[in-house]
Symmetry: C2
Subunit: 239 residues, 2 copies
Amino acid sequence: MKTDLDDNQDLSKQIAEAIRDAIIEGDLIVDQRLPSEAELCDKFSVGRSTVREALKRLAAQNLIRTQRGASGGAFVNRMSFEEAYGQQITTSTLLLSMNSVDFETACEARYALERACAPLSARRRTPDHVATMRAEIHRQSQPGLTDEAFCASDVAFHRALVDGAGNPVLSYQLAGAVEAMQPLMNMITYTQRDRDRIVALHTRLADAIEGADGSRADLILSELAEYTVELGQSRMSTR
Amino acid sequence: MKTDLDDNQDLSKQIAEAIRDAIIEGDLIVDQRLPSEAELCDKFSVGRSTVREALKRLAAQNLIRTQRGASGGAFVNRMSFEEAYGQQITTSTLLLSMNSVDFETACEARYALERACAPLSARRRTPDHVATMRAEIHRQSQPGLTDEAFCASDVAFHRALVDGAGNPVLSYQLAGAVEAMQPLMNMITYTQRDRDRIVALHTRLADAIEGADGSRADLILSELAEYTVELGQSRMSTR
DNA sequence: CACTCCTTAATTGTCTGACAATTGCTTGCC
DNA sequence: GGCAAGCAATTGTCAGACAATTAAGGAGTG
């Protein structure tokens, strides 16, 4: 690990990067204990606060976890899919909201990615996935559902579709795209007619997935994408 | 912003989360200055080191930047696509390496996502994108190229393909998938025959993109995916 | 007035020392 | 052996000090 630091730069940042690189390079392996704060102070010749700030930076990225007490310390964290989801969603959400990405662009990205999953999902989905999709469709048909709850169910439905592909890497990549769109989707108000139309499309989609008909699922998804963009545009313009 | 903290928990973590939520909720907008460290100490009734550790956590996620001096302080950062790329790549790389995701799964995810871009790229790519792809193909044909340089060029080629779709959200999502695979790809040794084959596929791909033939590009990508998986399997098994 | 230089105040970056809280280990007692 | 007390190591928090950086204002000078 690099221990020589450039003065007149942010020391804690440099230390964090040195340790992060060591983790990425594999010099520090999962569950391995890092040197104690005191040892790191010596190693980098800095004060304890500086070391601590560096460690907090790494903790914020889920790269390490810390434990108090004897035989405690900082340990390299196994990056779990769960944590990675969370990070990705936060980042994607902020990216979309802060850069005023328009609805159309985000929608296009989302459905393009989702369509990539459809054929795989049609081939590999388990009965569980289909059941989840059916359950969400049922929820979406309930009268008196708030727009937000409708959106949340929509996310859950599509999540099941994506998970059906049985590829955790795909699921991870798509979690960000789908969930990050939720704030944008929440700005839309759905009339009963809109919901009926969406539920109908979802039903056909679930049928296609259950029937292992990937190309039909793809087709329906493109319909859904088109309809959603249309909906977004009309709703945005009436404001 | 929430200022009441649960004692006997990690204070700096709670503070960081409170501020992060305020940013996500839009209570703190881009380029807005946060209260100074001293003010935050008062607001949360904690010591300065605790506040500083919280701020470093946020800085590690690129949520804020800090400036020294009078009229300095911590400011809400605009999450740029550039920074988001970097974060995503780090996360994806670690996720893949730490969870021993097998080559096949990662490859499938990567090419599934890339195929989602192909039709869009065929429609929208600029001459610049095509030129980049051609340039990378040329580089890949050079004799004496190391395997690593070959892989890097491969990434650049596919990056141009994805960027050609002209959708920054898509580019962002895919940056992680493509670049995170590089360490896995780097484990492969490419014979001259392998390279020739890949260069041929790349050339046909560039032709299809240039000729705005999305479905042909899609087809070639599936060929490339199949060949890559095959290559990976044979190379892994001979170890 | 315009320009330069100096001082001042505000703010973050770093260091030191102290104490609290937690936790595993050892030691002594029954 | 089993149990409780204490000990040592480690992170979490705090307070105070000083350094480094930067913007703003003021003094002096042409």
